[in-house]
């Protein structure tokens, strides 16, 4: 039996329009053999969570470069839990100062990647840590 592919949603929470990183990653994930859903810009945490559940993804990758990550990333994790979808993993990326890492990990963000992270390292992390959910 072949295992189904990992399903990843790349999402842009908030009003930030800096989507270069998100779009490059979406392509990269597709080339790495994942199934990819990209939300486009300007999604509320509620919209992201609803889409993640509907699309039955294994991982949500949040990208934010506006400084709103502290409010928006934990909100996505919280809403997933509320909707009984706490097993969907969430990772984050963008302009995120190191001083914020601890609070984000504590809020349930599984991994954080900042500018300069090689694409391979992100794909590698997913392959190691994310399994298609049953």
């Amino acid at each position: 039996m072949t295992q189904r592919k990992i399903r990843v949603m790349v999402a842009k929470p908030g009003l930030d329009g800096h989507d270069r990183g998100a779009r490059v990653l979406a392509r990269c994930f597709r080339d790495a053999g994942f199934e990819v859903i990209y939300t486009g810009c300007h999604q509320t945490p509620e919209q992201i969570v609803a889409a993640a559940i509907q699309e039955d993804v294994d991982l949500v990758g949040l990208s934010c470069l506006s400084g709103a990550h502290k409010a928006l990333f934990p909100r996505v994790v919280e809403l997933l839990k509320e909707k009984n979808a706490g097993d969907i993993a969430v990772m984050g990326g963008g302009i995120i100062p190191e001083q914020d890492f601890e609070a984000l990990y504590a809020a349930g963000i599984k991994a954080i990647f900042t500018p300069g992270a090689p694409l391979e390292s992100i794909v590698g992390w997913i392959n190691e840590n994310i399994k298609p959910r049953a």
Binding site: V10, G14, L15, D16, G17, H18, D19, R20, A22, R23, V24, A26, R27, C28, Y38, T39, G40, C41, H42, T44, S66, G67, A68, H69, K70, A71, L72, R75, I95, P97, Q99, T114, P115, G116, P118, L119, E120
Partner: protein, 560 residues
């Protein structure tokens, strides 16, 4: 022909001889890599010779500054009469915070203002909107109403300092606030000067700050052009921008082509919709380019842009006024070239890019601060960035002579090559039926996505190098102090909004919003109604909600 026949023959013979030597030398000293190319991956030859510019005609293609086709600059006297404007883009926190930063910058020798708004303001939402969660005052200043705006410009002489506002979908509203503020301060509209970015096409293509669909967005822009032409003649009503196209990952040629094609679209719309003649408004169109790290590619892009726009205005639109032929532009150094790793190296990147912008003949310049890849810039980092421009202007001597690189075989050949490649794109978009049609097909978006991905792959394979990222990596960085925006800004703004809505004449607000709605439905110019509404203290979002209601909302198709 650029050179006499005898010179050409001699040069061709010499070049042949040199080529033989190259082949010999390569056997013992191979090149470091197989292919050499710009940051945009445009292939560059080992040597450029007179043959590369054999078909360049000095008088028609190069000429002199202040003469068509303006390759060498618009101004007859270059930077000798006046340097470019030192214009640092700034805005953070509350209107009061930003006003303080502005006064500091002016004290330090900055010569023009440039406003960064926060995301809610950029997207047409007030600070109390649920959509503004976590964003108020973060990436720029939060402006909700004329009250905030008056705090922002406190103590700024509006008849002396020009102000640029990076604002797009709500440009009519923020410009209306500026006009209203001028009236309140007793400065006639004819005396104020500045720029609103107001370029929606590049938002759909790259920056993604959009509100309504493309067609009504262009209509609102034409309203501002018409209003400016009639009442605010010193205002640049559109800053046709390649900056964000480039930051989104385009090549230099794509930036050049898509920007000029956007310009064509706006000119066509104003002529068609407003019945203005091209020379009525074209002199107030301005441009905004990126200056990336590949030194010569940037200089050539800017030179090519001037020559192409002159041709477009003269040949395509039949403009008669030489001022319509001028491409005047602001430049910002490339944010995307900066690295979070070893951040002090960013000073060197920015310096190189600023120098390219000056050699490319910019009229105005923002230099990025070394910490902008990490957070909003600190006062110290901004000062270094501003001083970078002042050192280039006052110490290096590069502003002594106009367009000093003209006549270089390489520079002229690369300028020609980039121009030719940009025309190909423009023709392609013409064939698609224009830029609105092209972006509805996703054409420019996908071209940029392709280029961005290609570049990232080249970084990963080390075909392209970013120092500190994929080569010369160090474990321990020298950290820079980070600026954090006070979370209180959001609470304060919300409080101010509540108080505003209590004290203003709400009936007058409703009436003025209805007037805007009627103007939208009838296709009338919204500007006079916007000015009336902001004077009645209607908020930014209240006006933008009218646009959303009448014109509909645009959603990101999420192409990648």
């Amino acid at each position: 022909m650029y050179f006499s026949e005898r010179t050409s023959d001699a040069s061709a013979a010499l070049t042949k001889k040199w080529e033989v030597e190259v082949v010999k030398s390569l056997q013992s000293n191979p090149d470091q890599k197989e292919r050499f190319s710009t940051v945009s991956d445009l292939e560059i030859k080992r040597l450029y010779t007179p043959e590369d510019v054999a078909h360049t005609n000095f008088s028609a293609d190069i000429g002199v500054p202040g003469e068509y086709p303006y390759l060498r600059g618009n101004q007859v006297t270059g930077y000798r009469g006046r340097y470019w404007t030192f214009r640092m883009f700034s805005g953070m926190g509350s209107a009061k915070d930003t006003n303080e930063r502005w006064h500091l910058l002016l004290q330090r020798g900055q010569t023009g203002l440039s406003t960064a708004f926060d995301f809610p303001t950029l997207m047409g939402y007030d600070s109390d909107s649920p959509k503004a969660l976590g964003e108020v005052g973060k990436c720029g200043v939060a402006i909700d109403s004329l009250e905030d705006f008056l705090v922002l410009i406190e103590g700024i002489p509006l008849d002396q300092v020009t102000t640029s506002m990076t604002i797009n979908p709500p440009a009519t509203v923020l410009w209306a606030m500026y006009c209203a503020a001028a009236e309140i301060k007793g400065v006639p509209l004819g005396k104020i000067g500045g720029t609103i970015q107001n370029d929606m096409l590049k938002e759909f293509i790259a920056q993604k700050t959009f509100m309504c669909p493309p067609e009504p967005s262009v209509k609102l822009i034409s309203d501002t052009v018409e209003f400016g032409t009639k009442y605010v003649p010193r205002w640049n009503t559109i800053s046709i921008s390649g900056y964000h196209i480039r930051e989104a990952g385009s090549t230099a040629v794509q930036e050049l082509a898509f920007t000029l094609r956007d310009g064509i679209e706006y000119v066509e719309d104003v002529i068609k919709r407003k019945g203005l003649s091209v020379d009525d408004f074209a002199p107030r169109l301005s441009f905004f380019f990126n200056s990336h790290i590949d030194f010569f590619e940037e200089i050539c892009k800017m030179r090519a842009a001037r020559r192409m726009w002159a041709k477009i205005m003269k040949e395509r639109f039949g403009a008669k006024n030489p001022r319509s032929w001028w491409l005047r532009f602001h430049t910002q150094t490339a944010g995307c070239s900066l690295t979070a790793q070893q951040p002090y190296n960013n000073v060197i990147r920015t310096t190189t890019e600023a120098l390219a912008a000056v050699l490319g003949g910019t009229q105005s310049l923002h230099t990025n601060s070394l910490d902008e890849v990490l957070c909003l810039p600190s006062e110290h980092a901004v000062e270094i960035a501003l001083r970078t421009q002042q050192i280039i202007a006052e110490e290096t001597g590069v502003a002594n002579t106009i367009d000093p690189l003209a006549g270089s075989y390489f520079v002229e050949a690369l300028t020609n090559e980039m121009e030719a490649k940009a025309w190909e794109y423009i023709e392609k978009i013409d064939e698609m039926g224009g830029m609105v049609a092209a972006l509805e097909k996703g054409f420019p978006q996908m071209e940029i996505a392709e280029a961005a991905y290609h570049f990232q792959r080249q970084i990963d394979s080390k075909e392209k190098i970013m120092v500190g990222v994929n080569k010369y990596v160090t474990e321990a960085d020298h950290p820079v102090p980070l600026v954090d925006i006070d979370e209180q800004v959001s609470a304060q703004q919300i409080k101010r909004l509540k108080a505003l809505k209590r004290k203003r004449d709400n009936r007058a607000v409703i009436q003025s919003l209805n007037d805007i709605k009627t103007a939208c439905k009838k296709g009338e110019n919204v500007m006079p109604y916007c000015i009336a509404a902001v004077k009645n203290l209607a908020t930014e979002q209240e006006i933008c909600d009218v646009y959303r209601e009448v014109y509909g909302e645009y959603r990101d198709p999420g192409l990648y």
